[in-house]
Symmetry: C2
Subunit: 300 residues, 2 copies
Amino acid sequence: MFGVTILGNNSAVPAFSRHPTAQIVTIHDQLLLIDCGEGTQMQIARYKIRRSRIKHIFISHLHGDHYFGLIGLISSMCLIGREEKLFIHGPRKLKDIIDIQLSAADTMVPFAIEFNALDENGLVVNEPKFSVECFATQHRVECRGFIVREKKKPRKINKDKINQYPIPAAFYDRLKDGEDYTTKDGQVIKNELVTIPNVPARSYAYSSDTIFDHNVANHVKDVNLLYHEATYLKDMTENATKRFHSTTHQAGFIAKEAKVDKLIIGHFSSKYEDLSPFLQETKEVFQNTHLAIEGSTHIV
Amino acid sequence: MFGVTILGNNSAVPAFSRHPTAQIVTIHDQLLLIDCGEGTQMQIARYKIRRSRIKHIFISHLHGDHYFGLIGLISSMCLIGREEKLFIHGPRKLKDIIDIQLSAADTMVPFAIEFNALDENGLVVNEPKFSVECFATQHRVECRGFIVREKKKPRKINKDKINQYPIPAAFYDRLKDGEDYTTKDGQVIKNELVTIPNVPARSYAYSSDTIFDHNVANHVKDVNLLYHEATYLKDMTENATKRFHSTTHQAGFIAKEAKVDKLIIGHFSSKYEDLSPFLQETKEVFQNTHLAIEGSTHIV
């Protein structure tokens, strides 16, 4: 399973029962939390997500609608006695903000917190089955998007063919990694003869808050699923630019330019109650678009 | 109108759709916010409370379930362009916590914030129609309760009697303040002859988080309405004491000792789903007890 569950889809001031930005990425047996607006811990409970399985938290930038729920989540993890190490990846100043609040409450933190300040673009997490990279976006404050990539999956042994060749089972793992086998008498058995490709590695990108920017398309090139903000409808392009945000059409253009398979749009402005024009407008540019409805899960 | 609307009634970790502590006190034309747990701004919207009418915010202590929603509320006030001055009364360290977060977001604050560090017991707010005092409670960190008192109301002119005496209308305001009137020829007209008492001034006390402590009863003596925490049922007395909290019976004892008219209990532990035993147990000690149900309003 590799999917994205939306916990909050609103920008700035919560409105129309929509919550500020947060999402859970499920990848194999891990949960990643990307952004954590106020109320995220309640949304986690509401959608029956297992808080204890969150190992990595990523914060894109220090506007409150993207992180004001973090300290509450950490405090709850303390109160329920979490023991597993927690990794938090975010802007450098975030550490002081967490520390001052834990210290004021005299909170006993029963688990290790490893804080990783995101100062540069590049690799952030390197787990056995996936990696996470970050890239800078252009916003009013320092801001980063994230790309979660499955690692290339090992090839599979072709059960119909493998028995036709004298290859010891001990060599199968190396076959899965793509190696050829050389017999004792020097005969080379090409890997392709005895293995088949696995399903391709997939990727998900979240570009967070950003002005319309072609660099984003370069960063998220060819990902399977892209979450791009669409704070405003297209008639608000000027305002979007002024506020370093994007419109429906602009989100669609980036998805098209980056040749992604599927686009999610979210981070809707509090001025809109009805979200259907967002979908309609973005589809004018990029057909395979979906709204980041809270509680919805999008398979990568 | 002088009443208390409950926005959150839970302690520590949010549970069973209950929110962390927050309440709105409506007194004449003002709204006071007392404590502000995570999600309070959403609860304010949910119960259609006019955020703009909040002039004073009181934070009892720096455990997250009492203040993690404050920065989100302030940020939203900034985004919607509030202009009126906001007064925040709370522990001294709270100011740094607010400042570091506003600064990290590069937030433009379009209104004045006056921060009032609560270092001592006593008068906190002195408005024309009411005052607010604070008193220290015994908790794991520095903590304060608050008492909101209406000011003594002027007497009313007795319309049936006033015309029987030669008192100029210009003197009526002084009659309302309780003065006697002396005529030109030295005749004293006693105030009681021409005025009647107004409704008595009422008072509301919120004792926040506290261990069972008779000092609280002294502080809240004779208030009309008391909100006392009851984090645990009575069989958890030992645990309550260890954690500097109170039980149902202990809340009832304080209400009884202080001779209050009515008691609200709240700050329920996340371990309890059913709240009815809280009401039942507390009533064993103090009959006029009510649960702090979210969305309920209690007239003082």
